[in-house]
Amino acid sequence: MPLRQRLASLGRNLFQRKRVDSDLDEELRAYVDQLASEKRQQGMTADEALRTARLELGGMQQVKEDVREVRTGRMLDQLLQDLRYGARTLRKNPAFTAVALLALAVGIGANTAMFSVAYGILMRPLPYADADRIAAVFEQYAPRDFQFGTMSIRDYQRWRENNRAFENPSLFRSWRMDIGGTEGIPEQVQGSSVTAGFFSTLQVSPIAGRTFVEGEDKPGNASLAVLSESIWRRRFGASSSVLGRTILVNGAPSTVIGVMPAGFEIPNRLTEVWTNLVLNPPGRFGPWLYRGIARLKPGVTLEQAQAETNNIARRLMQENPYYKRMTMPIRSLRDAMLGTTLRPALLVLTGAVGLVLLIAVVNVANLMLARATVREREMALRLSLGAGRSRLARQLLTESVLLAALGGLAGLAVAWGGINLIRVWNPGNLPLIEAVRLDGTALVFTLLVSLLTGVLFGMVPAFHSSRADLNSTLKEGGRGANTSRSRGRTRAILVVSEIALSLMLMVGAGLLLRSFVNLQRENGGFSTPPSQILTMLISPGNKKYSDAKVGLPFYDEVIRRALSVPGVEFATMTDSLPPDRQGDADTFRLEGQTLGPGEMNPVVTHATVGPDYFRALGIPLVKGREFTRRDDPNSTPVTVISEGFARRFFPHQEALGKHVGYCCDGSNTLWMEVVGIVGDVKYLGLSTDADPAYYMSFAQSYGPRSFFLVRTSGDAALIADALRKEIQSIDMGVTLAQVGTLRQAMDTSVSQPRFDTMLLLLFAGIALLLAAVGVYGLIAYSVAQRTHEIGVRMALGAAQRDVVRMVIGQGAGLAAIGIVAGLAGALALARLLATMLFGVGSSDALTFTAAAFTLLLVVLAATFVPALRATRISPVTALRYE
């Protein structure tokens, strides 16, 4: 059939409905008239003829309805009709509409927000060409077994020699850099030293100048620097004359060759300077400071590359017996940026928020069912007037989807707010947070979720209505007992599932909360309140301070001035800080120990600290003494070891007086006498076990850049400015960075668990609230329906207490079933959480019990209000109304 014709009909039917209808009217009237005039000609009287003609037509309205039924766009027309009708119904029930919309807005909004976060971080393509062909390469080996372990230059060279899978294996290392020069005051920035192939691996072009080219990582090459857009703007006013300029990077003159575009975030978001990593032949095995990055050759799969690097790892193991069970894990660029914990956490949260939506859906379905009861008479009437059952079901579905669409619209607002809050605040320190935004993908997601939601919660009442028993409903004056009973059962099942789902979320949230509380209780091994410790990273800037003879007096002066600031009790230096700033890690030698060729002691935490470090932090001295000011370059080298170190490497013997050798190439070993044993401190994060550690005296292991740590009698944050002024008055070239209290550092180190916990608590809270509303609605409705029965009972002598007990019993029954089902679900869910938990088992009885009890209490509270109302039923009134 001609499409043009169809479209014309459609347009006419939809937009000229009045004319089309009046045309039809006239056509039919003419038909009747003609028929009547025929009858008259056959000898009937005028009246009789007209009556017979009308009779033969068989009902004007019916014919018109039949004609409309075949018109093009009939479905669309009905849809518009249903939408109009639905909108009117929603407007006329503001309370119902408000509650349903609120539940939907929260449910859909939370899901859209969570989806955007998860999509942005886990899935949105990274802004690098063929980003999924870029891999980060690590080393993982016993005994340290870090999933993202770093490698040494020697290992990198082995990798390069044996590489066939990758385009151009590159190496990089992130560290702090001092930037100085004539262009502005010195400052410390995050920097990265990278090999020549780094930028070509990522295939990102500079916005000015060039990046490193082949050979610029060879020994003896001049020092070069590539700047980030941010530092170029900040220090050079975004001037193109910066190219070719010499700036000071860590005191060494370096030539600026290029500027990277904003948004280039490799290796991380804060990196502002890239220098060429010069691959000097390593003097010894280690240090492990570097990560690999490379692009897969065309046609090579990640698995093939993984097999190859693992082969290389096997070779490395043969060369260095120190490596045990070694692999060289390859991770996608994204995984390397995300770390190990974020992906599972986001997936769990996304699942949890899905449950919240499910509860919201159940809640709205419940409301719809309650309303369906009220509308039973309307439906029965329409059925009896000839509406098809499927037509009625379709209309109810249309209403539901309309409601869901409105809910989705409101949900978009909720999501927009939520996403912006998360972006600005970034409470979880989430990487790639810039990629989180409300975009087309999220809109499509919201649309689909809304439609699905509408169909889901619309299906139940639609199904019920289409089964409605016409006769009994009309007969019973809208109190159809049969359908009501089945509807009541459905509602009870819905409420029970709400309770079960809520319990699952509450148990999950409870477990994370317990785990988080455990983390918060974890003090990292020191007893001074962290709010009384202020730390900052000092870099003296000027190269002359690299010499200990100049540097040590400088730091003595820093300490002297710091102690003059009111409130300061101790001031000292350290290169490592709890809870997660491990300064260095290295292997060591032990007095009297013979190691086979290539054999090594494990790499452990190796910290350099000044006098008073242990006292300032409140790290217990177990035995021996702490470092003093006399442990300087002119005196015997000494070391303090941790209890864990003593236990593991000096088992069943007196460690004091023994000697530990600081690294490690034959004659270069610096032998230090153990003079003290201190408590274990966590330098690798609060949720990991403390690493064995050996400490060196700052004066005997001097480095110009150091954390400066003061302990104050009050709030340490208050003296930051005074301290900064004192220190910079020694030398204007001195830079201070990462100024903050240990409290802040502790908080930051658990920001992701806190983020997870807060979100899951929020979800569980919403779920609980929705479940309470659901229970309340069901019980209140059932009390209203049983007014008569309760009246009779009270007339027959039931006390108010009995009535309350009966109603609450109903709620308790629902809760009991819901809780039993929920506990089973929660056990399964909790297993998914296992890796996110710290110090609490995934089947922690206390959490399960507490969650179940809380839920029971809330359900009973929600039941109590209608129960009280039931007691106020006057038997006389209740019976009279019957």
Partner: protein, 108 residues
């Protein structure tokens, strides 16, 4: 035979045939069908009008307002080119089917 028992295709074919010679209004179409079939088919308005509107929207019929024989305004239907083609196709189909069914029924 009651109008409701008319197969839709049959009704369409009858309407097309009724309009083959000249344009007609609703009542005239049903009269013409009755006449053509010797009164076997009495098409009721409840079937006739939906069919007419459906066929018009399919492009087989065109309608226009005109004067009826007793000087009343009435809506006249006429075949379009597509309608004529449809009449031809349906006629051939019907003949094939009728022949086939006739043969089937005569088989002993």
């Amino acid at each position: 035979m009651a109008a409701t028992n008319l197969l839709q295709g049959t009704l369409d074919l009858l309407i097309l045939k009724a309009l083959a010679l000249t344009e007609l209004h609703g009542l005239a179409i049903s009269n013409r069908i009755a006449q053509m079939t010797n009164g076997t088919f009495q098409v009721k308005p409840g079937s006739l009008f939906p069919a007419l509107h459906r066929m018009e929207e399919s492009g087989w019929l065109a309608s226009s307002w005109g004067e009826s024989e007793n000087n009343r305004r009435a809506k006249f239907y006429q075949l379009t080119a597509a309608g004529r083609r449809q009449l031809q196709t349906e006629t051939e189909q019907w003949k094939t089917i009728a022949l086939a069914i006739g043969m089937a029924l005569e088989t002993s």
